[in-house]
């Protein structure tokens, strides 16, 4: 048993955790016919239930999972897994119908029914069930209340509310002005831009995967890998000093992590060219600045050339907006990978202006 726990602790390492969630998404998209089988869906829920059930016998695991404010995230894990499976399954089923020359099920069910009783009764039942769950939850679990607020006593770790922990996790890789201000704003802008950059007329009002492969894959990457899984990571696997801890690991406040991160300027000037860092910030950071400019200004036209078909279909404005938003989204995994592989801290680091990328 201890061996299994140690094994799981090992696999929960942020690097492996992230890589595995990307791989999982790729498998879901690629092997979706298999993924959409009932046995897979219920099997995953069963596996999760067994995992949490057994986990609760472990003292360290129990401490994080049973923390009142973390309970909704356990529910979130089950719900996100279930609904991802369910929506892919419905898409695959509709794809089969379309491939066989039929209409999607929503089209076959387009005859009209009375709102009273067909809809209002469904609503009433949903509402009663929701109330019942909420009451049971409220009776069974007391809302947390800690010691009175004390500005002189900082808890370790200090965590934002759980729905912002994906953003707090980004702070590991980005400066606050990006992780806390620019990228969250871009998430909102990006979501709002979706209906205007997605010109695919198909898949409007019914589940499908084949007719919207790219859109759904990108969205799932954002929603599952970058948002939901980072929340789970930030909630369950980050302990004191924002260090990583496996789910069965004791939150040791004295755990030491080597801080070996290096700036790009150090890499180039000191290690490659064997020179001291230049005095002036612009010369010091010129390589990083060039790299960043290349990422935001040179890469989009290159992508336009590479994906000629999309460029022609979307038109210049839509294509460049999409490309920019997509690159901004990818900047997080890019930053993660460079950190894990090269220990790179910042590409551009100008502390003189609080400007780090």
């Amino acid at each position: 048993m201890d061996l299994i726990k140690a094994f799981i602790n090992l696999f929960a390492d942020p690097r492996l955790f992230f890589v595995m969630s990307v791989v999982a998404l790729a498998v879901i998209v690629w092997k979706r016919e298999l993924f959409s089988k009932d046995a897979v869906g219920y099997g995953m829920l069963g596996f999760l239930a067994v995992f949490f059930g057994f986990g609760l016998f472990d003292e360290n695991f129990r401490l994080i999972v049973v923390k009142p404010d973390n309970v909704p995230i356990v529910a979130l894990i089950f719900l996100v897994v279930f609904f991802t499976w369910y929506s892919i399954r419905e898409g695959v089923l509709n794809d089969r119908r379309i491939a066989a020359g039929d209409d999607p099920i929503e089209k076959q069910e387009s005859d009209r029914v009375w709102v009273w009783p067909d809809l209002v009764y469904t609503e009433l039942i949903a509402l009663i069930l929701c109330t019942a769950i909420l009451i049971v939850w409220s009776v069974g679990l007391e809302a947390p209340l800690e010691q009175p607020a004390n500005p002189a006593n900082t808890p370790n770790p200090s965590k934002a509310p759980w729905y912002f922990l994906g953003l707090q996790e980004m702070l590991v890789y980005f400066d606050p002005w990006l992780a806390g201000v620019v990228l969250p704003s871009l998430i909102i802008v990006g979501l709002m831009a979706i209906p205007y950059v997605d010109t695919n007329p198909k898949g409007n009002g019914y589940y499908t995967f084949r007719e919207r492969k790219v859109e759904i894959t990108i969205f799932l990457f954002g929603f599952l890998v970058l948002w939901s899984s980072l929340i789970v990571l930030g909630t369950f696997l980050r302990g004191p000093n924002w260090n990583f801890f496996g789910p069965f690991e004791y939150w040791d406040i004295h755990k030491l992590e080597p801080l070996t991160n290096v700036q790009l300027s150090d890499f180039i000037w000191v290690r490659m060219l064997g020179q001291p860092l230049p005095e002036h910030w612009f010369i010091r950071e010129v390589f990083g600045i060039i790299l960043t400019l290349a990422y935001v200004a040179v890469l989009p036209p290159l992508l336009a050339r590479m994906f000629r078909r999309y460029y022609e279909k979307l038109g210049a404005t839509r294509f460049y907006v999409t490309a920019m938003l997509f690159l901004m989204m990818l900047s997080l995994p890019v930053k993660m990978l460079t950190r894990w592989i090269f220990n790179l801290k910042y590409v551009v680091s100008i502390p003189e202006f609080f400007f780090n990328i």
């Binding site: 500005p151 965590k159 509310p161 409007n204």
Partner: protein, 271 residues
């Protein structure tokens, strides 16, 4: 052929009471038509009831299926109503000052018999964040944001942000360690706002001669907290936003959202 005679059964007492009740002036002043058990009255019930008239009279069959809607939009709205109601009750007990905030919550916990209003409010808020996300997920997976519903998707995104802000502002109110440090971590981001935060890139450029225009006591974080740290000003500010400001805005947007669902052709479906 033998003649058969039909005998009317005598009406039971309950039926007669019911008939009498539904013919009184009080009853007929409230309900303008008979129970919706035939087509005519199924139309009338939708048209004459202010709450039900959010709905159309009839809709496509796939639209009432849980497999299509997951019921997440409806549950988000219902949870909002639950939160409004429980929140109102909590406001009777709670005073947003450094002196009373924490002790009022302790009082609520210790002295109110069978009190689960705070629990209902807190767990309901967590649940609403989840249902709103799942609603967005469903709308994406069914492609329901596509024309003609682009604008309504945008209203939805704004309401998603407002839901998170409502939850965030409410998080501070118990005034315990969990509250102030979560808000401290969250609001510390604002000091790094480009140009408008005193530790943000570009803020140093906004200066008149030697005088910095952006400093700790007038930047974006200060505007959010009403102070340079999470203190009395932040508590009052978050309380007002949580109980009045944000609910008003999100209520207004909900009206637009529901109206647009109807005006954009009802629940989405294959064209």
């Amino acid at each position: 052929m033998a003649q058969t005679e039909t005998v009317q059964p005598k009406e039971a007492l309950l039926v007669r009471c019911w008939n009498w009740l539904t013919e009184t002036q009080i009853w007929t002043s409230v309900f303008r038509h008979a129970a919706p058990i035939n087509d005519r009255n199924r139309v009338l019930v939708m048209l004459s009831n202010v709450f039900l008239h959010l709905h159309p009279v009839r809709l496509k069959k796939h639209g009432v299926r849980l497999r299509y809607t997951w019921c997440m939009g409806g549950l988000s709205f219902f949870l909002f109503l639950v939160l409004t109601f429980t929140g109102l009750l909590l406001m009777f007990y709670y005073r947003p000052t450094l002196e009373y905030a924490y002790s009022d919550i302790v009082g609520l916990r210790e002295h109110v018999p069978l009190g689960i209003m705070r629990e209902m409010h807190r767990w309901g808020a967590h649940a609403m964040v989840i249902t709103v996300w799942l609603h967005m997920f469903r709308v994406f997976m069914t492609g329901s944001y596509k024309p003609p519903r682009e604008f309504n998707w945008n209203i939805g995104v704004i309401m998603l942000v407002l839901t998170l802000l409502l939850s965030f502002t409410g998080y501070l109110l118990p005034w315990d360690q969990l509250a102030i440090w979560a808000i401290t971590v969250g609001s510390n981001m604002a000091r790094a706002t480009p140009f408008l935060g005193h530790e943000g890139p570009g803020a140093a450029l906004l200066a008149l001669g030697d005088v910095q225009l952006i400093h700790a006591a007038d930047d974006a974080r200060f505007a959010l907290l009403g102070g340079t740290f999470v203190g009395e000003g932040a508590l009052l500010r978050f309380y007002v936003l949580h109980c009045v400001g944000l609910p008003l805005v999100i209520g207004f947007l909900m009206a637009v959202h529901f109206w647009r669902v109807r005006k954009d052709g009802g629940i989405s479906g294959p064209l």
